[in-house]
């Protein structure tokens, strides 16, 4: 199987991955970089558990061919806290509001929320619900997640 060498920025650091050309961004994150925050739920774009940011935009990393990452900037859940371990306001808000139950959807939810809040610091509930429509949660019933994102917007102010 043919391999490619792909150079990009991962959570702020320049990196190069030497992986089979057929790998997705998700597989590369999990198996080459051993960053297992992004999860594989469905593998076909339906569940959002694999959501990461590419150049600031939320994408399903399970559908993102690794050669397309060349030269881009990728942010995963591992890259949003500060270097000293201080959590990102969205992470804090999820903890305080019980936005996390089993946790499988959480990395994806937080990345979708981050993409939203980076663009729109004061979203309506409708904006929040639209931005996480592609992130399935089988535990919380979404209410605490929406509240967490609302609180995060306040914390960031």
């Amino acid at each position: 199987m043919k391999k490619v060498s792909v150079s990009f920025t991962l959570n702020g650091d320049p990196v190069t991955a030497d992986v089979p050309v057929t790998w997705t961004l998700l597989k590369t994150l999990r198996e080459y970089f051993e960053l297992t925050g992004a999860k594989e739920g469905c593998g076909v774009g339906e569940c959002g558990a694999c959501t990461v940011l590419v150049d600031g935009k939320a994408v399903n990393s399970c559908l993102y061919p690794i050669p397309e990452v060349e030269g881009r900037s990728v942010t995963t859940i591992e890259g949003i806290a500060e270097k000293d371990g201080t959590l990102h306001p969205i992470q804090k808000a999820f903890l305080e509001n019980n936005g996390v139950q089993c946790g499988f959807c959480t990395s994806g939810m937080i990345m979708s929320a981050k993409a939203l809040l980076d663009q729109n610091p004061d979203p309506s509930e409708e904006d929040i619900r639209k931005s996480i429509a592609g992130n399935f949660c089988r535990c919380t019933g979404y209410v605490q997640i929406v509240e967490s994102i609302q609180m995060a917007a306040k914390l960031k102010e």
């Binding site: 199987m1 043919k2 490619v4 050309v21 057929t22 997705t24 593998g43 076909v44 774009g45 339906e46 959002g48 959501t51 935009k57 939320a58 994408v59 399903n60 559908l63 993102y64 061919p65 050669p67 397309e68 060349e70 979708s112 993409a115 639209k130 931005s131 429509a133 592609g134 992130n135």
Partner: protein, 290 residues
């Protein structure tokens, strides 16, 4: 074992060269939201995927007389375009109802129609807006009206060596109002059970011109010509619109079937109800913009 090579050329010329070199062993990929899913589900892939994502010049929405939408424009760009929202609302509604933000950030309008699913959410709006597509190949380019583009479920007139480089909506659509309804079980992350797009133009309160397009109502997205003919020259009245809905839902216009997503009788009812509603909404929108 899934195996393929991946090329990411940065010019159209290079895309054509690769398409000619590999012939039927090559496949194009844009956002990949159909292609990657299909590869994963079928465990089969073309020998080489030729990515169009290097053709960044093809991601645009412009108006100069006609409306021009580049072949690499994503649904997210359409959803965030005020021009589209104000002047081509049916297409805005079709694009913004596709999948999720994550899908719309990469998935393209061209990919949606080249994939040619009978349920493609932008196909109805494009039919209602008289769209034409530009197909460019190594021997030049041709313009195809969207009404002639789809030839069957997942089939189009596009030749293997051609790239869809632009979707063009004629300037006369400025005088029309338009609206799209996607009937689905949930608000998000769901394909339409049936889709209804209507555009129309009024002369006082008389319908001078209209387009009615349906998806998941036949093997390809279709225009309901008989219903449009019925509306021509008629007043915007409930009884008139209801009759247009009945004609659109009848075998004169479509070939509805039962499927897992919905039964034929249900699709017919939805068409009957939503053709009038979308016609009303389209009419209100003309008044707003002019």
């Amino acid at each position: 074992m899934i195996d393929y090579d991946y090329k990411r050329p940065d010019s159209l010329e290079e895309v054509f060269r690769l398409l000619q070199e590999y012939g039927p062993r090559a496949g194009l990929i844009a956002g990949g939201t159909d292609v990657m899913v299909k590869i994963r589900n079928t465990k089969k892939a073309p020998e080489v995927l030729i990515s169009l994502r290097g053709l960044t010049d093809l991601a645009y929405i412009r108006k100069n007389g006609h409306y021009h939408i580049g072949g690499l424009t994503t649904h997210r760009m359409l959803e965030q375009s005020e021009l589209l929202q104000n002047e081509l609302p049916a297409l805005y509604e079709g694009a913004s109802r596709i999948g999720s933000v994550q899908v719309r950030n990469v998935a393209t309008l061209a990919g949606n129609i080249c994939n040619a699913a009978p349920s493609a959410d932008t196909a109805g709006p494009l039919l209602a807006l008289d769209a034409r597509v530009t197909l460019q190949g190594p021997d030049g380019e041709r313009r195809v009206p969207i009404t002639e583009f789809f030839t069957g479920a997942y089939r189009t007139v596009r030749k293997q060596t051609e790239v869809l480089t632009e979707i063009n909506i004629p300037a006369h659509m400025e005088q029309f109002g338009s609206a799209y309804w996607k009937q689905s079980r949930r608000k998000a992350m769901n394909l339409p059970i049936v889709g209804i797009a209507v555009s129309l133009r009024l002369d006082n309160d008389t319908i001078s011109d209209s387009r009615i397009a349906l998806t998941v109502a036949a093997p390809t997205p279709i225009r309901a010509y008989k219903a449009e003919e019925f509306l021509a020259g008629k007043p915007m009245e409930d009884a008139v619109l209801a009759e247009a809905g009945r004609i659109a839902a009848s075998p004169e216009c479509c070939t509805l079937r039962d499927s897992l997503r919905g039964e034929a009788w249900y699709r017919a009812r939805i068409i009957e109800v939503y053709v009038p509603r979308m016609a009303r909404l389209a009419a209100e929108r003309i008044k707003k913009t002019h």
